[in-house]
Symmetry: C2
Subunit: 245 residues, 2 copies
């Protein structure tokens, strides 16, 4: 597993991704640890052009969604387990926030094992964090029933690009010994100065007419206004899917 | 990456896990895709006996927590990014539910890459889903500030057992083509009958005086009463950590 070389791939060749390969990778990824061995997730495979077109707006119409040979939507799923219980004289109680977090956790761990396996196989992937921005669009398109909620989307194909790797923060930015070590101004500088000095980031600040890289995030990419509006939408979708009363 | 052979390991040898190895694996896992390259997670390393004792009750005092050489608590973390913004004349707006889900997603994807790398290295791991059951205990013990929330715990060590692999549901239980395919009673049978027929599961039903395997889950392992009480606790902790107003 060559994690050191990994990068997100957004452009794919015309070579198809076979069902045989896809199913093998999904089956292998299902060895991932899962709560009570319940496997609280499901994968919806999108290959049809029509469905890709329906999903695209949920992902801000990023071109990967319609251009990739396969799109996978991975869902937190307590529906199947609940149906199993109902068929087996058992009274399920999984229509609550804890159960959503449990199922989302299962789904995301499964997703990442799939990513590791698929990248090891030479496939290129793009993880779409937009999945939770407008979940209602995805829920409608994929006909997700109550107790099923989309938490991750992957566009999958054979790489047609080899982009530069992005940087990462130094280990001290993410690592804490025994207790959480607060971030003093000096520690923030030590974590971020190198990143801020990268030519591509300086350029990014400049073309956006901002003073600092952080302002590009707070004022343009991930604004309070958008976050608060999408938080409302997310909660409404959780109510709609039966995880919140 | 030999995912087909993976199993959860709960017993560890006395051999230590070096900081060098641990840091290398954490650094490699940080190549995982992350929202806007913000790396919205942190890892708190527990090696001290005293801290393991403090964390144990949050995990129902399962013996792995105090017996493992290392315990890792992985947190959704918008604190560092928020502090960075505050130091850089930017106005962060990450005290909301969407931001929690974004950071939890980042944290769980990172966690699973770490798991894949660590298992490839020969380490044994146990993922503790209990992390979100009583998050307040962990938050207090690890002194997690606002906008930091524990989402995963791993006990880590060199394996001192080789347990049998657990079964998994057939692929049709998790896979849907184009739209979500509802679970009819026949489909539930097709997904679960083999599992229910396993001698260990029949035994499990019998010793618990239940009629079906599903009842062991609904009546004993994951009850509505517990789930609803812990959902309240989870929401209260999210308020306390500043992700819900």
């Amino acid at each position: 597993m060559n994690i050191k070389q990994r990068r997100t791939i957004r452009k794919y060749t015309q070579q198809p991704v076979s069902d045989e390969l896809l199913n093998r990778l999904i089956e292998e990824a299902s060895r991932t640890q899962t709560m009570g061995n319940l496997q609280l997730y499901s994968v919806v495979v999108t290959r049809s052009e029509a469905m890709k077109e329906r999903l695209a707006p949920a992902h801000f119409c990023q071109p990967m969604v319609t251009e990739a040979p396969v799109v996978l939507t991975i869902c937190a799923d307590f529906r199947r387990t609940t149906d199993w219980c109902l068929q087996r004289k058992a009274s399920p109680g999984y229509d609550n926030v804890l159960s959503f977090i449990n199922a989302a956790t299962d789904a995301l761990l499964f997703t990442q094992t799939f990513c590791c396996l698929a990248e090891e196989e030479g496939l290129g992937l793009c993880f779409l964090g937009t999945t939770v921005y407008q979940p209602g669009v995805i829920i409608d398109a994929l006909e997700l029933p109550e107790l099923v909620f989309p938490v991750a989307t992957l566009t999958v194909g054979w790489p047609a690009e080899q982009p530069n790797q992005t940087d990462r923060l130094p280990l001290q930015a993410i690592l804490h010994q025994e207790t959480y070590c607060p971030f003093t101004p000096e520690r923030i500088d030590a974590c971020y100065t190198e990143r801020e000095a990268l030519p591509e980031n300086k350029h990014f600040v400049e073309i956006n007419n901002k003073e600092t890289l952080a302002q590009v995030f707070t004022d343009l990419r991930y604004t309070r206004k958008d976050n608060e509006a999408m938080s409302e939408g997310l909660l409404a979708a959780l109510v709609c899917q039966g995880f919140i009363k």
